[in-house]
């Protein structure tokens, strides 16, 4: 009995120690997709189970090796016991229940990683020896880099022109083989959650330069993504008014300001420039470039009558460059 107590204590200690060690050494790359969060939760469960089972067996073994070793000159036998069906049934049923439970959790985890969002961005991926090519059918763009907007699910429809390849970005966790054959187009969905530059690496041996079959994957915010689309299409706006229009479209300005005179949370921009308005403090101000500049970078300085103060974010001076602010002003000016 004394032996069992010591062993149980050691198993508990070693379990926590192993778990802390495994978590501490950093086993997984950065977590950059919604799927990675789900999958890493499953990894965590596995690591707990591994720590426990490892400790269980190792402590019993180690204890036996140290405590139950044969003394010099002792030619005798160990304690005679050879079977215990109750024990055998327990250590068959308990693991059985555990693995069924783990399979169940695994199935749920898989279902979560395969969550389908209807608004997903479509990208057709073509793999070949030894390159990746990405088509954006909704935009008519083909690129050797995979640009993705952050926080929006992407649906890759993948095919190969020769042998089997495999799409894997470690930071996104999910992986899918890419097969040749028109009827074997495989789908992979994931939602990048962290902006940054990653690399897709072919994970299925495809001969020759397999090791070098890598392409950049760049996750950007919505605005940068639209910029990239436009620059790929060769129609990135050049004049200040169009640039300003893109800025206000991509940064949510139009959520509160209409451009057609209809009422909204903030003043409409239609015919705004050059008009004179009554401010909350009773003064009358003309809307000119200076006024608009102040209204953008310090929105609570002069709030027009009929509109609440403190609604518009006041950090645009940090978010935009001076040139971008001037472009937005030019756009508003064009609406007079």
């Amino acid at each position: 009995m004394k032996h069992i107590v010591i062993v149980v204590i050691l198993v508990i200690l070693l379990t926590f120690g192993t778990y802390a060690l495994l978590q501490g050494i950093g086993l997984l790359p950065a977590q950059a997709s919604a799927q990675a969060v789900t999958i890493d939760r499953m990894f965590n469960l596995h690591i707990m189970m591994i720590s426990f089972l490892f400790s269980l067996i190792i402590v019993f073994m180690g204890y036996s090796i140290i405590v139950f070793r044969q003394k010099k000159g002792d030619e005798g036998f160990g304690k005679f016991f050879k079977a215990n069906n109750k024990l055998e049934i327990i250590w068959t049923i308990l693991p059985l229940g555990t693995v069924i439970f783990f399979s169940y959790l695994g199935a749920i985890s898989l279902a979560e990683t395969r969550n389908v969002e209807p608004q997903a961005l479509n990208v057709d991926v073509t793999a070949g020896q030894w390159y990746w090519s990405f088509d954006y059918p909704d935009y008519g763009i083909t690129s050797d880099k995979l640009y993705l907007p952050v926080d929006r699910q992407v649906k890759l429809s993948m095919t190969s022109v020769d042998v089997i390849h495999s799409f894997w970005v470690p930071e996104f966790r999910v992986k899918q083989d890419v097969l040749p054959g028109e009827n074997l187009v495989k789908e992979l969905r994931f939602t990048p959650t962290e902006k940054g530059e990653y690399t897709v690496r072919c994970a299925e041996l495809c001969g020759g330069a397999h090791a070098y079959m890598n392409s950049p994957v760049i996750v950007v915010d919505d605005a940068e993504f639209t910029d990239w689309i436009d620059s790929e299409l060769g129609n990135l706006p050049q004049d200040p008014v169009s640039k300003g229009k893109r800025l206000v479209e991509n940064n949510g300005c139009l959520g509160c300001h209409s451009v057609d005179g209809s009422p909204s949370v903030g003043p409409t921009w239609a015919g705004l420039f050059g008009s004179e308005n009554v401010m909350l403090d009773g003064s009358i101000k003309e809307v000119n470039e200076d006024y608009l500049h102040t209204a953008i970078v310090d929105p609570n300085f002069d709030v027009p009558e009929g509109f609440p103060a403190g609604v518009m974010p006041s950090n645009y001076a940090d978010l935009f460059s001076e040139e971008e602010i001037q472009n937005m002003i030019s756009f508003i000016q064009s609406l007079k």
Partner: protein
């Protein structure tokens, strides 16, 4: 000259070269007659197979059967007089002990070849960039490392089965001695073919040979296919023999549930070998035909489906893993009670867990294909079946631990390797479930994590146990013990070195290191880990070298050990003298009177000699 000619192996190899040339030439002539030009690839395949048949003629593998077919008298296997001394190991011997040793030698030769191949590409991987190999060389080495060691393991398993099982169950020999010799010798030309893949352009598919990659590319792949195909014959025939021997030739009183536990493991393994090996042969044969005859089995542009190959391939290659480890786990269960001086805990459960692993092994092949694009509805059922393997495996671990508990442990070299095997196999086993649940496998598939995981299962399930087995049964073969100090150096060098490689591989794998790449991105920061893994790999190589030195010098200089060296209850120790006589138990009849592992039970015996009147003494 005549003296050299009388050595079977050399004669047979000359026959093989001749046969290959004849086969290739014949095909060339036929093509010429048809008005076609010379083509190397079909000539290689035809030459390869005919060469293998010629090898068997050269070694004398068909002479007995030929005489039977001609109606001549053929002596029973035990009446055949065989050459004495070292020469008999190089010829067509019918004695299961000789064949067991032949298997063992081939296994160890292949182990050193396969291991050396690994050291070459580990050197390449020690730092990022390409230093000593080009891509095709690297891929060829990786693929051959895998397949050569698979062959080595199959040979090692057959070595243990052949040498030990008949002795353990008190059989006079294997059930079919000529078939037994045939199944060993056919493996020799097969390994020659396998290795010659390097001479004909190599191949770039790895050991899995997935089409369509294997349908294109260098023609060395054909020799690889031919080699594996023929090794498969060896495996199937050998398994058949072991099953029949175990079921029909046990000594009087040895019921199934009192036979040594190792015999159960070999039985389970043999059932898998007998029934699953065909599938890898079939899948490779189809690719062979696709390359030679343009049949579109697996290439989509010709109407084929590459996933089909993976199903066929893994239907063997997953159960194959259990072929590799079950005998090793059997060795652990067999040797543990001897060194713990206490019964094996839960004999029946341990025996049945081998069968359970063999059975579930058939239901899990899909877990190699979670990312391959199999039908979605297959992934979850395969996850359930895969994790089920943990249940019978768990029974084994718990039984081993219970066997150790309150024993009186002794630590000679075989016991060290047994304990090492349990620890390493535990690591291999525990790292399995993360790759068995689909969502986590989506990350782990085709990474170094998998490499680390299966090397741990192979070392724990085969390498450590076979070393234990060799140290343990060496006195039975030679009448001498292997050197203790060298054995301990071997163990204490190999174990930590292996753990370092395995942990290192798993860690960088999880962080993003892909399998089978000749070069890796230095920005990933894996250079140091790879260097450490390479150094540890070399240390394993050194430790195995020490083992080989020990193996050779102990045959002449080892401490004489003729009795029951380990105080075992098993008949091959308690009845049979060491080294074991030519005709096994001839003149020493015995019967089973008790249970195999009742160490410490007052007055009990497992086997007792029978006197002339048939009564137990």
């Amino acid at each position: 000259m005549r003296k050299i000619w009388s050595i079977g192996l050399i004669r047979a190899l000359i026959f093989q070269i001749l046969g290959s040339a004849i086969g290739a030439g014949l095909l060339g002539l036929i093509r010429l007659a048809m008005g076609l030009s010379w083509k190397t690839e079909p000539a290689l395949v035809v030459g390869g197979f005919i060469g293998a048949i010629f090898f068997m003629i050269g070694i004398g593998g068909f002479s007995g059967w030929w005489k039977m077919a001609m109606g001549e008298d053929v002596p029973e296997a035990h009446d055949v007089t065989e050459p004495e001394g070292i020469r008999r190991y190089f010829g067509f011997s019918l004695d299961h002990k000789v064949i067991g040793i032949q298997y063992g030698i081939l296994s160890m030769v292949l182990l050193s070849v396969g291991g050396s191949l690994a050291l070459i590409f580990r050197t390449e991987l020690a730092s990022s960039g390409l230093q000593i190999l080009d891509f095709v060389q690297f891929n060829t080495l990786v693929g051959l490392h895998g397949m050569v060691l698979i062959a080595s393991i199959l040979m090692g398993v057959a070595a243990m089965g052949n040498y030990v099982v008949p002795l353990m169950i008190g059989a006079e020999d294997m059930a079919f001695p000529r078939l037994n010799a045939f199944s060993f010798w056919i493996a020799v030309p097969a390994t020659v073919l396998l290795l010659s893949a390097m001479l004909f352009g190599g191949f770039e598919t790895g050991w899995t040979a997935y089409p369509p990659l294997s349908v294109r590319g260098p023609m060395g792949i054909q020799l690889f296919f031919a080699g594996v195909y023929i090794v498969g014959w060896s495996s199937i025939l050998g398994a058949l023999n072991l099953i029949v021997t175990t079921l029909k030739m046990r000594v009087k009183g040895m019921k199934l549930f009192v036979m040594p536990i190792f015999a159960w493991a070999v039985l389970a393994t043999s059932i898998i070998s007998l029934t699953a090996t065909q599938l890898i042969g079939l899948s490779f044969q189809l690719v062979m035909f696709e390359r030679l005859l343009g049949m579109g089995f697996f290439t989509p542009s010709n109407g084929g489906n590459p996933i089909l190959f993976q199903h066929l391939f893994w239907f063997y290659s997953h159960p194959a893993v259990y072929i590799f480890v079950l005998p090793g786990l059997g060795i652990i269960s067999e040797l543990l009670p001897v060194f713990v001086r206490k019964p094996l805990f839960g004999y029946k459960w341990v025996a049945m867990s081998s069968m359970g692993i063999a059975l579930t092994g058939y239901l899990v092949w899909g877990h190699h294909m979670f990312t391959s694009g199999i039908e979605e509805y297959l992934r979850v059922p395969f996850m359930y079946s895969t994790l089920l393997v943990a249940v019978p495996t768990g029974v084994k671990f718990f039984s081993w631990v219970a066997t150790l508990w309150q024993g009186k442990l002794r630590f000679p070299v075989p016991m060290l390797f047994i304990l090492g095997a349990i620890i390493v196999f535990l690591i291999g086993g525990l790292t399995g479930p993360p790759s068995g649940t689909v969502s986590t496998d989506l990350h782990l598939h085709d990474t170094y994590y998998i490499v680390g995981h299966f090397h741990a299962t192979m070392f724990g399930g085969f390498i450590f146990p076979i070393f234990a087995a060799i140290y343990y049964w060496y006195p039975k073969i030679t009448g001498r013990k292997m050197n203790d100090t060298l054995g301990k150096i071997h163990f204490y060098l190999m174990t930590p070195a292996f753990l370092v490689t395995s942990f290192g591989q798993m860690q960088i794998g999880m962080l993003g290191m892909r399998r089978r790449i000749a070069d890796y991105d230095p920005t990933l920061g894996f250079d140091t880990s790879h260097l450490i893994i390479t150094i540890a790999g070399y240390l394993i190589g050194v430790s195995v070298l020490i083992f080989f030195i020990n193996l050779i010098i102990s045959a002449k200089r080892g401490e004489v050990a003729t009795g029951n060296v380990w105080q075992s209850r098993s008949p091959e120790w308690s009845i049979l003298p060491s080294p074991s006589p030519v005709h096994n138990y001839k003149g020493m009849p015995f019967e089973v009177v008790g249970e195999p592992y009742d160490y410490g039970l007052e007055g009990s015996n497992y086997v007792l000699p029978v006197n002339q009147t048939g009564q137990a003494d």
